[in-house]
Symmetry: C2
Subunit: 261 residues, 2 copies
């Protein structure tokens, strides 16, 4: 297919990404793997990276047996049936609990977005203790900053303008299944404001704000998989909006506009 | 880039799609445009189609001046500030109203999903009356069936297995901006169940259900744009899950599991 008759987005999932250890430099790992496999990062490309490898490189592991649960952790543990130490980890990472019931804790993460269990993860965590069951992995502390560091490094190394998006799989209030969503941004817009643009018939669009980075996060997440196939980095080519400085908080609906809490 | 070192998804937006009129056969329009532009639909491709052209072809236009609002329409009109006739259209298309406030009506659509204004649209609607302002466009009546008809037609014409996804742009409860979401499915899974698969370290995944069609809907929506550039059909190549019969309702969270209404 030529680009003359079609507009195109391409998503390339990097195969054979090495296991990431605390202290690893993600930017170097990406550059090395691209070089080794003869994959080129082009100007205007966006690197979409799963939070998991960022969290590992930033040593966001927590050993469950070292956590001392407080009163609120016991309270939410009783409701949710989850281990009070795990609940304490969730509370530590959250501004508030939105909903709690059997098997479910929905919170506002410290970074502002709503998600289950503060995004704390057990699967695919590289065991740090003798007892695998007890190692958990928190989200990066400041995902926008994590993205920024990777972008500056790769951008200056390749002398190209690129964007970096850090994503996680989130559930949704009224839909089954998870989809990839933005948790950190550098160099691309979170939200694109199309208000004032005219539609095909000349009407002014009134309310069209597109969550462009979330659309890309979801699309790239399709390639990443959730289990053995693990592809933690996707190169996205053909993002149709102008690159600019951006931040995660663009995507967070102000609490006063929130109808559901 | 070769596929040896990367796994790839490609999204091709079909340029120069003709304006769609009531009675038009969307499958024929797609086949014609592909032929004219030398674009090939391959085996395992998925056609992602915006609801708008389906609604137009199915003549889902409503003229506002012909709508007689009832008591509930006046009630929600007072709360939302929206025209009572428009509110009546929304109520006609909905099972229930979830939230209402100034400028906002969130409903459960008859098809089961939650959205604003029952997905009823004014922009890009091809005027059917002398007074453009008064024409609105409802969602397709049965988007799964609309998708199925297009799939059967194209599939048998090309003798290839394909999937068809009908999407719309939805807002989210806690996030700014809209993203593309599934409203109709034929021949692809809505939800992919990865429970029981092992992760990289041999743990069994416990809760991983991926809303694969919503991830694709969001990614394809990036290309479609919202205004003049209007690209109503995207060919998606490289969908990483096995094609099968699917339906929109897979994606709808049962009301008893809903924590937010």
């Amino acid at each position: 297919m030529t680009t003359k008759n079609s507009k195109k987005i391409e998503l390339f999932g990097l195969l054979n990404f090495p296991l990431v250890r605390p202290g690893d430099d993600i930017a170097s790992l990406i550059l090395d793997l691209c070089k080794k496999n003869n994959l080129e990062i082009k100007d205007q490309d966006i690197l979409v990276i799963t939070q998991k490898i960022i969290s590992k490189s930033e040593n966001r592991y927590r050993i469950l047996s070292l956590v001392k649960p407080g009163f609120r952790a016991y309270y939410y543990s009783l409701i949710s049936g989850k281990d009070p130490r795990f609940v304490q980890l969730v509370l530590n990472e959250s501004n508030r609990v939105l909903r709690a019931k059997k098997n479910t804790l929905i919170v506002e993460h410290k970074n502002g977005f709503i998600c289950a269990n503060a995004g704390i993860d057990h699967s695919n965590t590289d065991p740090q203790s003798d007892n695998n069951e007890e190692t958990y992995l928190l989200l990066p502390e400041n995902p926008d900053l994590s993205a920024e560091i990777i972008r500056q490094r790769i951008s200056s190394d390749l002398r190209k303008q690129i964007g970096v998006l850090i994503i996680d799989s989130h559930g949704r209030a009224w839909r089954n299944g998870t989809i990839g969503m933005t948790i950190g941004i550098s160099g691309i817009p979170g939200l694109v404001d199309l208000r004032g643009n005219e539609d095909l018939f000349g009407f002014k669009l009134k309310v069209t704000m597109v969550a462009a980075s979330d659309e890309l996060a979801a699309g790239a997440s399709l390639l990443m998989g959730q289990s053995k196939e693990g592809i933690p980095v996707v190169i996205a080519r053909g993002f149709p909006y102008k690159l600019r400085e951006g931040k995660m908080s663009e995507l967070i609906r102000p609490k006063k506009e929130d109808l559901f809490r």
